[in-house]
Amino acid sequence: MPVDPVDILEESVAIDAAHGELAGVLAYPLAGVPTRAALVVGPHPLMGGRLENNVVRSVARGLAEYGLTTLRFAFAGDGPTSEVMDEFWRTGHAPDDPARVDDARSAAIWFAHNVIGPTVLVGYSFGASILAEMIDLVGATQLVLICPTIAHHDFTEVARSSLPKLVIASNNDFATPLDAVETWAARCAGDATLIVLESAEHFFRRQEDRLVGEITTWLHP
């Protein structure tokens, strides 16, 4: 694996999914042969889960610059209905959340068909909560959970996985108190490494490079 970051290429891809086509971006080093891969799953689409999300984009690009082939994707949908928005406003859960899980599974199937190599699953926020659905589909070897929304979503299946896990949290994340993440990480099956970034909130604004650095250090000790 290269020590220094390398120049990368990106290409847009279209992924067939049950609820419509997903837009994705595949990133990989300009030169060299990637031996590993990463699938990055972003936040809820009603909470900024888009391709241009700063964490999703930075992690996908950053890992590619360190030699991995990465895929990030946007969840399907032409925009929420007023019913979906109203329910999400009230409960924090959208009625079509199961469809978003299906989207992620479709992305995982596409990834498994098109990318070879040991795969790291990276989930951010809501995306971390649905990684368990994708582990077998991509034959994942490691999990990275960024600001997992322990307080809002069910992480039982993720915790049960014996895969090595890197959990990156913030000490001032509005979505989940740090002690909840610490407790959850301690109970995980398999090795779970918890890294806390100070004052990163839930969003890692201007800490994106540090976030990528923590992941690459963990991947390439």
Binding site: E10, E11, V33, M47, F203
Partner: protein
């Protein structure tokens, strides 16, 4: 398997490699290439891939807008490199990977240093750097070479044809020598490599023909800046007539060949796209540039000054008699002054046969537009130009009229659980503090300069606000890039940001109707 080894698809189009994309002309050339669906690989100097992407994005935003979309579709890529390093500083692996994938190289990078410096410029970049670029092109198997030179490789002459010139009897400066040498060295290298060389020769490049926007203020802008300083000096001396007794060593009817940057870039890519043009020499000059007298009139009009006279035949020893104004003016002008004295006429028959559209005609108002832009940004080139400016009347229109009317028709009004007070604090705008009270999805009240607390507050710059309501930026982009700050309940603020995003997509507020430069 698409990317088991990250091997580019064999069906993918080859690259046009572009150097100098962060420069004045290069950024506009990049815009033209992307707009015409070329796949462009930019060589950018940077320490990390991220820095290279950011630098390219920052330096081209005025010409190309947000280039992220081009990165993400694979139409644009950046490779870090340096003209001053062997093989451009690219690793052997990168060189191997690019072999056979580059269809053409457009070398637009260059130094505009007029007088030789200790660091070797301008020859270091214009001669040695050019040599390195085309050596790399050759090693990659690229045989279609394009060199951006200057019309002034003709040196001191009255007329210049679109041919490779014999060495002029006299150059104005070291810059011209370096460009002439680069042309001839590259021609020889192309012949050795079996490549075709197309040479583009712009004149003096200025800002955009429509907006006056420029990303740097060099060249003729030294003249503009000198006059600007003189006008300020006249103000300080209390001369309310603003009469500046200045002797301008130039001919009133001479025409320094000023060309708008967008015209030059468009013509360059027209020629690049024309198979019949391959291997030619092209003057990307203006067929009828403004005379010194017209430039002087524009400056006098804009700065409300007078008193300058042309003294074409003044000798050097007259400098002893120069006034303070003369000395200040001449010093500020520097090597540019020579281009005002002697302005060749450039033939452009070759160019005219290949381009789709003639350059924008010059006028007094277009000259003034250049000055307005430079003064408008206080001679500091903006990396990002705000498409819109705030104004209290428009904020009032937006909050008091547009929002109540359109929200009633929107999906937002159907959110029966939405009970929320939202405050917008818009920095940099007069009357930029507004409170919106939602009750069961309806916008119940709107209050300017509120005194009651809000559930959530968004703080954002005026330019960011107008981009948001125009639908040019998403709420997540704005918030996550730090363009907006949230106070209060963060979770509800984020949820509401998503709702507002949906609303502005449904009902964008068309700032273009009231901002002259927008759109």
């Amino acid at each position: 398997m698409i990317s088991a080894n990250a091997t580019p698809s064999p069906t993918r189009r080859p690259w046009v490699m572009l150097t100098g994309a962060t420069g004045v002309l290069g950024s506009q050339v990049l815009h033209e290439l992307l707009a015409r669906n070329h796949r462009v690989l930019c060589l950018v100097r940077a320490d990390t891939p991220g820095e290279a992407r950011r630098r390219l994005a920052d330096c081209t935003v005025h010409a190309c807008g947000d280039v992220e979309r081009y990165f993400e579709t694979g139409q644009l890529a950046v490779v870090r490199g340096d003209l001053h390093l062997p093989m451009l500083g690219l690793s052997r692996a990168v060189g191997e990977r690019l072999r056979g994938t580059i269809r053409s190289v457009i070398h637009s990078a260059g130094s505009v240093v007029f007088t030789a410096r200790r660091d070797g410029e301008p020859s270091r970049t214009n001669i040695e750097g050019t040599r390195a670029v085309f050596a790399f092109a050759s090693s990659c198997g690229c045989r279609d070479w394009h060199l951006v030179s200057t019309a002034y490789v003709c040196g001191r002459c009255a007329d210049a044809d679109e041919v490779m010139h014999d060495e002029p009897t006299a150059y104005r400066n070291d810059y011209e020598y370096s460009k002439w040498t680069a042309e001839h060295e590259t021609r020889r290298a192309a012949q050795s490599a079996g490549a075709t060389l197309t040479v583009y020769r712009p004149g003096v490049i200025v800002g955009h023909s429509r907006t006056g926007a420029a990303s740097r203020f060099t060249g003729i802008y030294y003249l503009f800046r000198a006059v600007s300083l003189l006008a300020k000096a006249a103000d300080q001396h209390g001369d309310d007539r603003r009469h500046i007794p200045l002797r301008i060593r130039a001919a009133g009817d001479a025409r320094p060949n000023l060309s708008f940057v967008d015209d030059v870039a468009r013509e360059l890519v027209d020629i690049f796209d024309s198979p019949a043009a391959t291997g030619g020499v092209f003057h990307l000059t203006h067929p009828k540039p403004p005379s010194n007298a017209v430039i002087k009139r524009a400056l006098e009009t804009f700065y409300n000054i007078g008193g300058g006279t042309f003294t074409e035949n003044a000798r050097c020893d007259d400098a002893l008699d120069d006034s303070t104004y003369d000395q200040l003016f001449t010093g500020a002008l520097g090597a540019m002054s020579d281009y005002l004295l002697n302005a060749p006429r450039f033939d452009r028959n070759h160019t005219d046969r290949c381009v789709r559209q003639h350059p924008t005609p010059w006028s007094l108002s277009r000259l003034v537009k250049l000055l307005e832009f430079a003064e408008g940004c206080d001679w500091r080139p903006p990396t990002q130009m705000d498409p819109a400016r705030s104004d209290s009347a428009h904020l009032s229109d937006y909050f008091e009229h547009f929002m109540p009317r359109t929200i009633a028709q929107s999906k937002l009004s159907q959110l029966r659980n939405l009970d929320l007070s939202v405050r917008y604090v818009i920095d940099g705008a007069q009357d930029g503090d507004w409170l919106c009270q939602f009750c069961r999805g309806h916008l119940q009240t709107v209050q300017r300069a509120p005194t009651t607390p809000a559930d959530i507050t968004y703080r954002l710059d005026a330019s960011v606000f107008w981009r948001l309501v125009a639908g040019r930026s998403t709420t997540s982009e704005i918030f996550l890039s730090g363009g907006a700050r949230i106070e209060g309940d963060v979770e509800r603020a984020l949820k509401f940001a998503g709702i507002i995003q949906d609303f502005v997509s449904e009902f964008p507020y068309d700032v273009a109707q009231w901002t002259p430069d927008a759109g």
